[in-house]
């Protein structure tokens, strides 16, 4: 088996040198694999992605992050990105004054194959007709969901080897969520590794090969996507099934794995 696309070993990370959020996280994304990362609010999912991207200076304070066997700790964020990682940030990360088209062009900044880029743009527009309509509109004035489309499309434009998405379904209408997950799946089928951070566990696990559950900075559960879907706790806390009514869930809210 070829080496992992992305591998984290015992990563500890946090903010401002004092606050620690992740306490020894190890996970792996194999080439062409689709991995889902679940976890409740404040578990540290976004922190994990930021740490991988080298956006937190001086982090990880312990442990190792390797991309295709190379240790990337200490690399500049730009360099990590150029190693083939596309990252859809939480909160969409729009360049508000730039038009939709310009945002998409930036996604393809490092690509030299102009013809293929044009082809990809067509595909994107087919997938999100809304964006074709609004190609000239400054992103800052788009609706929340439209912005989310731009963020995902922009990442796709770079033809990454690893696609990391932080809550791509945030603020998207159900039909679009389905379409987007379908797209992610097909891109994954074409060989792109995917690390998917999601709250929408049902859909995420539906397209993932493998899943991890992060709680309070620790991985508490991992396994094949189907196994997780069947797990009692996952069903209750992430899928909202298991017969609980809203009030019951409220009463049970303190319940956690440990």
């Amino acid at each position: 088996m070829s080496e992992a696309l992305l591998k984290l070993v015992g990563v500890e990370s946090g903010y401002l040198r004092r606050l620690s959020v992740l306490h020894g996280v190890s996970l792996e994304v194999a080439p062409g694999q689709c991995v889902a990362l679940l976890g409740s609010n404040g578990a540290g999912k976004s922190t994990l992605l930021k740490t991988i991207m080298g956006l937190l200076e001086g982090e990880p304070r312990k442990g190792e992050v390797t991309v295709r066997g190379e240790r990337v700790a200490g690399w500049a964020t730009e360099r990590i990105a150029r190693a083939g990682i596309a990252y859809v940030v939480e909160g969409r990360g729009m360049f508000p004054e730039l038009s939709v088209l310009e945002n998409l062009q930036l996604g393809a900044f490092h690509r030299r194959d102009a013809a293929a880029v044009r082809g990809d743009l067509e595909r994107i527009y087919a997938l999100f007709p809304r964006l074709a309509e609004r190609a000239k509109q400054p992103c800052g004035t788009l609706s929340g969901g439209e912005q989310q489309m731009v963020a995902i499309a922009r990442a796709l434009m770079s033809r990454p080897t690893l696609l990391m998405l932080d809550e791509p379904s945030l603020g998207l209408a159900p039909r679009l969520v389905e379409e987007i997950f379908g797209t992610i799946r097909s891109i994954n089928r074409e060989g792109t590794g995917v690390l998917l951070v999601e709250q929408n566990a049902a859909q995420a696990l539906a397209i993932a090969d493998y899943g991890y559950v992060l709680e309070a900075g620790r991985l508490v559960l991992e396994g094949g996507a189907q196994d997780l879907l069947a797990n009692e706790n996952v069903r209750e806390l992430y899928l909202g099934v298991g017969g609980a009514h809203a009030s019951d869930a409220f009463v049970k809210r303190k319940r956690r794995w440990n």
Binding site: E57, G93, E102, G140, R154
Partner: protein
């Protein structure tokens, strides 16, 4: 009538310098969101280098100018990397440089300076905690203010505070134009200003790197995460902006005499011009420069010389109340 024509011509001449300065300020603001208080000092470096090369080293004129522009470019670029947006290594180097400057100020012996600089740099690199070093917008402005003071102090110390004479780029023989005398120097200045504006405008709106520059200005973290060459962009914008400052200072110095305080007034006029035109618009910078130049002349000649600045301020206020983002500037995109 000839008087009015001459006033217009002279106003445009003054405006051409303001425009050039405003262009540098706007370029930087648009691409980094920083209002650079050290713009004048960046420009002065070029001029002092030119002076030294001409009088000390006796280099030919053209070469001296070229080298001095290069010096300004490097100063601007390194300033951004070492001080304004430093990484850890850069911060260590920057702190070393600063500690060196401190030592130089206190002791003025080169070996002490070098020793302190190197020691601080090494120590900083080894021990510095990489906290989130993100000064807010005002903090960045104050940082450039510090750079301005330090550089200005350094020039005074190193080059002296006396007035220095620098030969003009072109012999300033006026051309006659329908009863008005037009300065060749200001024609040249206008040409340089408009030409550079067009070039920069093309760069920003038509090229990939220009797109990256605009993106970096809006969300630096996202630009980094997308692999855009953020550091290169920062180096380039600060460098080019400093180069514009140096061009303005070199054009101005022959008439106003070169001294560390020379750029104070033109720079503040440049700020005003940039704001009139709109801080986000390159053509606006040029327009603002000419508007301010002509406005000052007309007010001074026909209204009141004593209250020229006050009237100019009033006019600016009127412009801003009517167009809060300047003549050609666009409001920030904002929605909830």
């Amino acid at each position: 009538m000839a008087g009015l024509l001459q006033a217009l011509v002279s106003g445009l001449a003054a405006g051409s310098i303001y425009a050039l300065i405003a262009l540098g300020l706007v370029l930087l603001y648009r691409t980094t969101n920083v209002l650079n208080f050290a713009h004048g000092e960046f420009g002065l470096l070029g001029t002092f280098v030119a002076f030294t090369l001409l009088h000390g080293a006796g280099l030919p004129y053209g070469l001296a100018l070229l080298l001095s522009l290069l010096a300004a470019l490097l100063l601007g670029g390194f300033n951004s990397l070492l001080l304004v947006k430093p990484g850890r290594a850069a911060l260590a180097v920057g702190l070393g440089v600063l500690a060196g400057a401190l030592a130089y100020g206190l002791a003025a012996a080169w070996w002490v300076t070098a020793l302190v600089a190197v020691l601080t740099g090494v120590l900083a690199f080894a021990r510095l905690e990489p906290t989130a070093r993100t000064p807010n917008a005002l903090g960045l402005i104050i940082l450039t203010l510090g750079v301005s003071l330090a550089l200005g102090g350094f020039y005074a110390l190193y080059f002296g505070t006396d007035n220095k004479v620098i030969p003009p780029l072109v012999p300033d023989v006026p051309l006659r134009l329908g009863g008005a005398a037009v300065s060749q120097l200001s024609l040249l200045t206008s040409g340089i200003g408009v030409g550079l504006m067009l070039l920069l405008w093309l760069l920003l709106s038509r090229t990939k790197i220009g797109l990256a520059m605009r993106a970096t200005a809006q969300r630096e973290d996202v630009a980094k995460a997308m692999g855009l060459p953020v550091r290169t962009v920062l180096f380039a914008t600060w460098g080019v902006s400093a180069l514009l400052a140096a061009a303005a200072a070199l054009l101005l110095a022959p008439t106003t005499l070169l001294s560390p305080a020379m750029m104070l007034d033109p720079i503040s006029k440049g700020f005003v011009a940039a704001v009139i035109g709109g801080m986000t618009s390159l053509p606006g910078a040029i327009l603002g420069g000419y508007v301010l130049g002509v406005l000052e002349l007309l007010v001074g000649v026909y209204l009141s010389n004593e209250f020229r600045a006050s009237f100019a301020f009033l006019a600016v206020l009127v412009v801003l109340v009517l167009r809060p983002h300047g003549l050609l500037g666009k409001p920030e995109v904002r929605r909830v």
